[in-house]
Symmetry: C2
Subunit: 447 residues, 2 copies
Amino acid sequence: MEAQVFEELKALVERRDWKTLAERLSQMHPSDIGEFLTYVDEEDKLDVFLLLPPEIASDVILETDKSTRQHLITSLSRTRLTEIVDEMDTDDATDLISELPEEDAKIILRGIKPKESMEVEKLLQYKEDTAGGIMQAELVAVREDQTVEETIKAIRAVAEEIPDIHNIFVVDKERRLVGSVPIGKLILAPSKVKIKDIMNPKPVKVTVDMDQEEVARIFQKYDVVSLPVVDHENRLVGRITIDDVVDVIENEIFEDFYRMAGLQEDDRVFSPPAFSIRKRLPWLFLNLFTAIMAASVVGLFQSTIQAVVALAVLMPIVAGMGGNAGTQTLTVIVRGIALGELTFANAKKALLKEILVGIANGIVLGVVTAFLAYIWKGNPMLGAVLAMAMVINMFVASLTGTLIPLTLRWIGVDPAIASGIFITTFTDVFGFLSFLGLATLFMRYLT
Amino acid sequence: MEAQVFEELKALVERRDWKTLAERLSQMHPSDIGEFLTYVDEEDKLDVFLLLPPEIASDVILETDKSTRQHLITSLSRTRLTEIVDEMDTDDATDLISELPEEDAKIILRGIKPKESMEVEKLLQYKEDTAGGIMQAELVAVREDQTVEETIKAIRAVAEEIPDIHNIFVVDKERRLVGSVPIGKLILAPSKVKIKDIMNPKPVKVTVDMDQEEVARIFQKYDVVSLPVVDHENRLVGRITIDDVVDVIENEIFEDFYRMAGLQEDDRVFSPPAFSIRKRLPWLFLNLFTAIMAASVVGLFQSTIQAVVALAVLMPIVAGMGGNAGTQTLTVIVRGIALGELTFANAKKALLKEILVGIANGIVLGVVTAFLAYIWKGNPMLGAVLAMAMVINMFVASLTGTLIPLTLRWIGVDPAIASGIFITTFTDVFGFLSFLGLATLFMRYLT
């Protein structure tokens, strides 16, 4: 939305000119109204929202940010909220109702149209991150011996409720999915033609308990904008549209990198501070534990450090470079797994490549660092120890950067979970161990 | 694709049973054939690919991985390749041609249909990461005084070339965009109705030089599956469909986290090792430089360490915890910026929150660490110094984790670029400085 429009609307709110504001809002796209509402002062949000007719309000509330939505849901009368939910698609109604306290959810479910209520109750039973959790009940299904004309009539009957039909699904008398017809094909067919003659008899479909990430992959693979959802008897139970899948794709990628950093999915930029503190602390404690492990490695070499203090100065370089190289490898591997490019079948190839890259970079950087250390301290052996430790630690970085996410996946855990913390632990431990260990070994050349 | 199907197909390749294989492939979805080709041995790829008729081959080649595609493009005869490109949508043809050496590109452009060739040459001029770079020329445009019947006729004329029409665009006689009609609406309108009576006169649209990330955000905001692209005179020049946008969204998110880790976009899990080495080294050198900076801070306190070697043991804990907390903040902030939740307008709120979270976590972890250090060394002052340094470093972590990406964005650079390296530099430098500095200050209580 343009800044000028935004300022004009804000001025109307300040002047309490509700009539003009309502008029202006009625010309706007629900997404833009939702964006505007997000920035309206909290005490005015409800007043502005009540200017909207229910059929617009139901779209707008889905486009506001989480805290605005929470505020509105809590402040609206239950009657008004029921009207709004009644206008929603079943998948959105389900998401909203699942955010409500149980008592309120019951009130709403009793208030909306019985058919929708029944469907929402069904949808509420599916796990949030499965095909069932993101599908909607709104769809158009016809039988294969119906004609194009009859099908268009069926679409017309629901056109107001379901504006975004991309495919018609074809079912048999047990409601088993037997085909699909893109709407573009329907428009071109003569009106007396039977659906079975123009349908695709092998439609791409997903099952109701399929993980949403898998669903997203199928959407991408087949470049489709909507897919039918079937149960284990191949009965048509719902439909998923691409807009919901885009959110899934986005969230799944962010989730990987959140986990890598030791963050939880719901910890967002404007989450309340107390919430973020609580969510981040467990991971920081895990990191504290691993940092103490790394420190205790240094503890083994106190007498070496006492003898050559320069080692304490240089040891963070070895550890830090390993951490960085490990994070590079880890990021590449997590991406490869997420996109399905990296599987257990080709994991060995990836591992060998990363090890090669790690050792090569270790040699280049080790030689440069050794040269710098030699200039600084005038001791070639110190440089040599530094270079060797660097190569060893870059090798460890590439090894763990590849194997940790693969192992996590192998034992059935998210491959990214806390992996950033694990990698830096390994590179710290092996960085200190190799550098201080080699220094101890070659001590007589260092003093 | 099921593993069994895959094995059967592979067996056919091994037996050189091309006839049966061709038959099997003709029953399969192009995406599945593309996936299969990716796993066929290199020397057999071309033989298998040549079994496909050009109209299928053109879809299949787009679904293979990059190295298979490169191999096929190089091995196919120019005549065959021309036939295949001729079957493609203009956006895909443009992408493929831009991968070819100039000489080959010219041959192909001369070989394909003159109309498509002209359009591809136009598309080749747009920058890859703009709306123009991802749009296609295939679309259906009608004038506003045409009827529904005439429009359906226009769709029929191009139906074979453009199977995925979601919207009809409406233009005036200068080809300026004046409206759009979803195909679902067209199907329900009486055939004599004029397009202007059912069109949306304010269609959402994008301009040809708009950044692809911005385009993706508009698709998501308005939940649309295709959008018209206009030039600066509002003339319709192309169309973008959601499947291309999904790839953009996915790549932009990965790009952020790639940059955070000091990686370049094209460095993938199976890139050649020499390529990955070359791409990662510059970032590792940047990291070496910053690591030396951090080490030189330690260098300032050599006499302190000499006096109390335990400091060398504990200092990596302070630095490491800061690095982890900083990465948490950074990840949350980068996500907030990417999703448009965090802007300069609300940046102060985000900064204050992160600082609060950082200090609070610093206090909790500092107290625990101090207690552990006290148990280990029996010196309460050592614990106190550790706790203070931890709080200071967690504060620095939250400050830099927020300000570095925001500053990078402010000066017009990607907010994630190398930010992981910068953050750990700050937390290393300030971790060592605060811990060793405080230790020097309170030296007489430590020995």
